[in-house]
């Protein structure tokens, strides 16, 4: 299938100044409307002419979607805040360094200058059969081209596949889950819902055509980081929060994760008081490893705990023809996240 780059087909562009105005356009155009955040994932689709929306709604002019502000004992990040703003924010650097590491691992400096945290979290999968316009399950068809005997599926899922074997490519998503972030979604009716990050992302068993809970007309407006897992949260009584983020990829820039891991741990002395850990690149949604969190709770942070946790993490993994390497990769990343390998400063 020929890939035509460079020139996009025409579309109507709307640049509303408020969420309500944006949603009015989305309601008017329904399935023919496309929401544009930073535009990186979007323009890729439009240039390839795989997605052909009639109307594009650019959220870039909506001031209320931008900026980072205090929220309760944590932070609220507007969905249209750029990744560069996230990585240069002093409070994120001091208290949520794991999100800084994750956001800084995304793409390239130019793309981080333009790309938004809402867009990064909500971006579509990179499965090339799907991105090339093959009529697969995710595109509304009835086959997964990445899961046939001849399929090239080195980058695809090892866990929780259900017909579709695509994976979530977001770097910030696992960090948001580790930080127990809350996703603020404004529905078409104007009603606001607040979801835990792990509920925001959906796999094919829930909705095979979407990566998130967002339905047409819904907008992610903000991401809230609670204080519970902030770096100073452990404070009293000698407990301390430690983070770990690691992304493995073929190229150190621009590339998407093969497997990534993000963890937040509250340590008391050498013991793990509580932990949150998530991986991405292994399933259609970033996976929170609740069983691993439970397993390590109260145990000493050492090699034995890390090995046990890592083995638990990969239970049930079902590799495809070309991605068996992801199983030991995920195991080792979880091991490093629990045990630690390096200084935590970023």
């Amino acid at each position: 299938m020929a890939v035509i780059r460079d020139v996009m087909p025409a579309f109507e562009l709307f640049q509303p100044a408020s969420i309500a105005d944006a949603q009015a356009v989305l309601a008017r155009y329904g399935a023919d409307a496309w929401v544009l955040a930073g535009g990186l994932d979007s323009l890729d689709w439009l240039k390839d002419r795989i997605k052909r929306p009639q109307a594009v709604v650019d959220l870039g002019g909506i001031v209320e979607l931008k900026g980072i502000r205090p929220w309760e004992n944590g932070l609220e990040i507007g969905a249209m805040t750029t990744l560069t703003e996230v990585v240069t924010h002093p409070v994120i650097r001091d208290r949520y360094a794991i999100l800084l590491d994750a956001a800084e691992a995304a793409a390239s400096p130019q793309i981080r200058n333009q790309g938004t945290i809402g867009g990064n979290a909500s971006q579509d999968t990179r499965c090339w059969y799907y991105r090339a316009g093959w009529p697969c399950y995710r595109a509304g068809g009835n086959i997964c081209y990445a899961d046939t005997p001849e399929a090239i599926n080195r980058e695809h899922a090892i866990l929780d596949a259900d017909r579709c074997v695509a994976v979530n490519p977001s770097d910030t998503a696992p960090a948001l889950i580790a930080l127990d972030a809350r996703m603020v979604v404004r529905g078409a009716s104007g009603r606001e819902r607040v979801l835990a990050a792990e509920e925001y992302f959906v796999g094919p068993a829930v909705d095979i055509t979407r990566m998130t809970v967002l339905q047409p007309g819904d907008l992610l407006t903000a991401i809230r980081l609670p204080g519970d897992w902030a770096a100073s949260a452990g404070g009293s009584g000698g407990a301390e929060v430690q983070f770990y983020f690691e992304k493995t990829r073929d190229r150190q820039v621009w590339d998407f994760a093969l497997v990534s891991v993000a963890s937040a741990m509250v340590l008391r002395g050498s013991a793990i008081e509580r932990a949150r850990i998530a991986v991405n690149g292994v399933a259609a949604r970033p996976l929170r490893l609740a069983a691993v969190e439970e397993l390590v709770r109260g145990r000493p942070r050492n090699e034995a705990t890390a090995v046990m946790a890592a083995n638990r993490a990969i239970e049930g993994a079902q590799p495809l023809r070309f991605n068996a390497y992801k199983v030991p990769l995920m195991r080792n990343l979880v091991k490093r996240a629990i045990r630690g390998t390096q200084a935590w400063t970023s």
Binding site: D6, M8, E12, L13, D44, P109, Q110
Partner: protein
């Protein structure tokens, strides 16, 4: 109702106030080349991985191939053509010439503009900062060691100038 497939945008381009009639699906790159004859920002990969189309928008580097022209309304754009003062090259350009920070030159405008953003934030960048900032720019001639030397020299020249 106005036609939502067209816009007249006003912006600052290399220090001059300009307007352009654009189609809403056009990238800023297409408009710079067609309406202003500026070819320093080149489209190469078309997907934001090579950095050849880098330009500065309000002092921040973006990939022009993934930047709709309509985004530029009201913004201040700088391309490589806007750096020199008449016949006097910008210190970053002089440094790239002095250190031969290029071979074929195709990627050079992108490297120079990314260097401009780097030096605006880190006037005396470390090797690590240089590598980090330039990580989104590809040089197929692999002139990287000379590019890094050029960036360091540019930092010196800029420090001398201020």
């Amino acid at each position: 109702m106005s036609d939502a497939t067209r816009r007249t945008i006003a912006f600052t381009l290399n220090g001059r106030r300009v307007t352009a009639d654009v189609k809403t699906h056009e990238t800023i790159l297409e408009v710079l080349q067609r309406d202003f004859g500026l070819f320093g920002a080149r489209e190469s990969c078309g997907q934001g991985l090579c950095g050849c189309c880098t330009l500065l928008v309000d002092g921040t580097a973006v990939s022009g191939c993934l930047y709709l022209a309509a985004f530029a309304a009201g913004a201040e754009l700088v391309t490589v053509e806007g750096l020199a003062r008449g016949d006097e090259l910008h210190p970053i350009q002089r440094a790239f010439v002095e250190k031969s920070g290029f071979q074929c030159g195709f990627c050079t405008p992108g490297f120079i503009l990314m260097t401009a953003e780097l030096l605006s934030r880190h006037p005396r960048p470390t090797n690590e900062e240089i590598r980090h900032y330039l990580s989104g720019n590809l040089c197929r001639c692999a002139a990287y060691p000379d590019i890094i030397e050029a960036v360091k020299r540019a930092a010196e020249l800029q420090a001398d100038r201020t």
